[in-house]
Amino acid sequence: MLGAFFDIAKREFRNMISHPTLYAVFMIIVPVCVVFFFTDLMHEGLPEKLPVGIVDLDNSAMSRKLTRTLDAYQNTKVVARFPNVREARKAMQKMDIYGFLLIPKGTEAEAVAQRQPKVSLYYNASVLLAGSLIYKDMRAVTTLGGAAIGQAKLQALGFTPKQIQAFLQPIVIDTHMLSNAALNYNSYLSTTIIPVCLSLFIILITAFSIGIELKYNTAPEWMHRANNNIVLALLGKFVPQTIVFTLVMWFATYWMYFVNDFPYQCSPWFLFLLAFLVVIVSQGFGIFMFGLVPSLRMSMSVCALWGVLSFSISGFTFPVDAMDTELQMLSWLFPMRSYFQVYQINVLNGFPLYYTWSYFVAMLVFILLPILVLWHIKKALTKYIYIP
């Protein structure tokens, strides 16, 4: 029994080495590239110096001060001044700038004369991240600009700085961004997008590597080595892959949490355990999918179409709670939804495992799913012939 297992495992290792374009590329090189890609693309954490414009019709000391202050903010950079709104709008439509501040004529004079001028800030809301960052900075600048004037008036009335501050902003909101105090988008997106990508690869390669046995008609020989025992055949085939995938996943974990220092509040061991879980959950899901549609092409297509949806339905960008109820239930059918919940509850926030037991059960179910279709896979491997 053990001999047969090692025999098949050896066969699988040989397989991987003799087809480097297939296995080495898709199991190691591409996943590692994906890890580098996302962490490097978003290395700023928060996009910095997003281009904004100014339509300064006032040309006063105050309007110039507003411009300078806006330029000094971390997320924005004033790249252009426009003579009128039309030009600025044109630049927005070309996406040369993500927003602009309109300071109408006479702003300073009206502010001094207490006639409450109106400054308008326009931002591009169709690119959510850039738009909201620019909104934040422009809002802060205009509020502070207004506050400066109020401050001058109150100073003249003889208030102390503390009183002035309390008067200008009686209630302050002190936001505690739990576990991501720097509002780092790299750690926010990469920690989910990378495992989801890798899991998708694992699911596809799992389905692929069973299907390819059918295609090249090597399935009988494979089953023969396993003494026609399907469990042994699958274990022998996938344990070597588990090893390789786990190493890749651990590299990704190491790269994210220890090189890029993404925040985590669990024990480091748990990170690696979770990475391993993602691997076997994905493999279980891939085998199950192949069992459902035991043909190379169809099973891969189904896996691909199903897997791509994981990016949306895991809920890390658009929360699942805000989706329709049917979708909230369907989200249980996606292995990576469970990963994301475990990640955000146990890893990111460091809450006890007790609160994620249901997701661990879901993962266990995904790992055991292949049992349901063992007979089907066996039938496919022993009886079917490959039809292209």
Binding site: N124, A125, V127, Y185, A322
Partner: protein
């Protein structure tokens, strides 16, 4: 002269035949059916359903009210009344509140200090704390915005009480010497679907085209005795015939699909739609062509049909990020930008977003427009090169095989023991 026309005429006939072969393949090969027809038709519906609600509403928050005064209750009431936030309960202490958060019962904890109303009464600044679960940025934004708005609103009311000015207008002016007005352009509801969908729709065009073309190429190779891309038939003798014949088939299908994706879907789901089909055709035409020739060029790399799925799926999400919609294009470093110029989707997505969501005219997106046509030209030439090479390979394999057969025949004549 006559011969010249006869030759052209025959080439046209060959092209038509190649076109028909390809159409037949598209509608009989189930793999290609899935990616050419089902995915472009159904996926957008699915995505639209996912993001149908556009934005988050009633994000659950729990309140720890240490003040328990009418002022603090007023604050809470205003928060609860806002569209984005919902107060789901009151906690007695922080441990209580934390437990609810652990159970995923709430996304944020609002802590109102015991000195809340006395601070206000004494003219001191008071601090309301907000603890947010950072697992979802949309939830975070909703909570923070609501609380900021409420604090500003209540703050100016407090100021007005303090000032005791003569007219309400004077109150307004002293609290807001400069009024600021924010305008969310192009996506007034800041909807998530309106933001992501246009990019996804354009990406679907490219990725499914690449998948379909790649699969068809993979099948052609697998059916071929020498694993060549081009079958050895007189009809497939000229590269222009093959490229135009196949290309026309893909083009017809994708002319329909592109219209469906860019016009029908946004209308069905009420996403922002500023461009008409008439405006979009000049962009969609080079985009689809660039994708087709890009696909044909890439198909030379495809040995087996299933590998296509791996390649395309692996690249989809990175390509979406490279287009500069989710992560702002201005913050993408030079080398990634250079890489992104290889894909038609980069220009296609940007041109479509600008025209459809931002209301740009063709003139505004001319850089994308020229880049797309440049890609059409480059990838067309590359596709020609690929097919020219493939035709040569096919000829060579066949010739080699003929020679081999000749040689064997010859050998067997003289030496019957020397048979292989």
């Amino acid at each position: 002269m006559k011969e010249f026309f006869a030759k052209r005429y025959r080439a046209l006939g060959d092209m038509a035949q190649i076109f028909l072969d390809e159409v037949k393949m598209v509608f009989t090969d189930e793999g290609v059916i899935i990616f050419f027809l089902l995915v472009p038709l159904l996926y957008p519906l699915l995505y639209s359903w996912l993001y149908n609600n556009e934005h988050v509403e009633d994000v659950p928050a729990i309140v720890l009210d240490e003040s328990k005064t009418s002022a603090s209750r007023d604050f809470i009431r205003r928060c609860d009344a806002a569209a984005d936030l919902k107060v789901v309960g009151y906690a007695n202490d922080m441990e209580d509140a934390k437990k609810v958060m652990m159970k995923q019962g709430c996304r944020g904890i609002i802590v109102i200090p015991s000195t809340f109303s006395s601070d206000i009464a004494r003219g001191k600044q008071t601090t309301v704390s907000l603890f947010v679960n950072m697992s979802g940025m949309m939830n975070y934004k909703a909570l923070l915005m609501t609380l900021t708005d409420v604090s500003l609103e209540m703050g100016s009311e407090i100021q007005i009480q303090k000032l005791g000015s003569i007219t309400t207008r004077e109150d307004e002016i002293s609290t807001h010497p400069i009024e600021s007005q924010a305008v969310a352009m192009f996506n007034p509801r800041s909807g998530y679907g309106s933001y992501l969908l246009p990019a996804v729709l354009m990406l679907i065009i490219q990725q499914t085209l690449l998948l379909g073309i790649g699969m068809s190429a993979g099948t052609a190779r697998e059916d071929n005795r020498y694993e060549d891309l081009v079958p050895m038939s007189r009809r497939y003798g000229g590269m222009y015939r093959i490229i135009f014949g196949k290309g026309f088939c893909y083009f017809l299908i994708y002319a329909l699909m592109a219209t469906y994706l860019t016009i029908v879907i946004p209308r069905l789901f009420h996403f922002v739609q500023l461009a008409t089909l008439h405006d979009l055709v000049p962009i969609l035409l080079p985009y689809v062509l660039a994708c087709i020739f890009f696909g044909m060029t890439m198909s030379c790399l495809i040995r087996h049909r299933e590998n296509v799925i791996l390649v395309i799926i692996f690249t989809s999400v990175p390509i979406l990020f490279l287009s500069g919609v989710s992560w702002p294009g201005a913050s993408i470093s030079g080398y990634w930008k250079g890489l992104s110029y290889l894909f038609p989707s980069t220009f296609g997505i940007n041109a479509f977003v600008k025209m459809n969501s931002l209301g740009a005219t063709l003139n505004d997106v001319r850089s994308e427009y020229y880049c797309l046509w440049a890609q059409v030209a480059v990838y067309f030439l590359l596709a020609c090169l690929v097919y020219w090479w493939q035709i040569r390979m096919a000829h060579k394999h066949v010739l080699h095989n003929e020679k081999e057969r000749e040689r064997r025949k010859h050998a067997s004549k003289f030496n019957i023991f020397y048979r292989h």
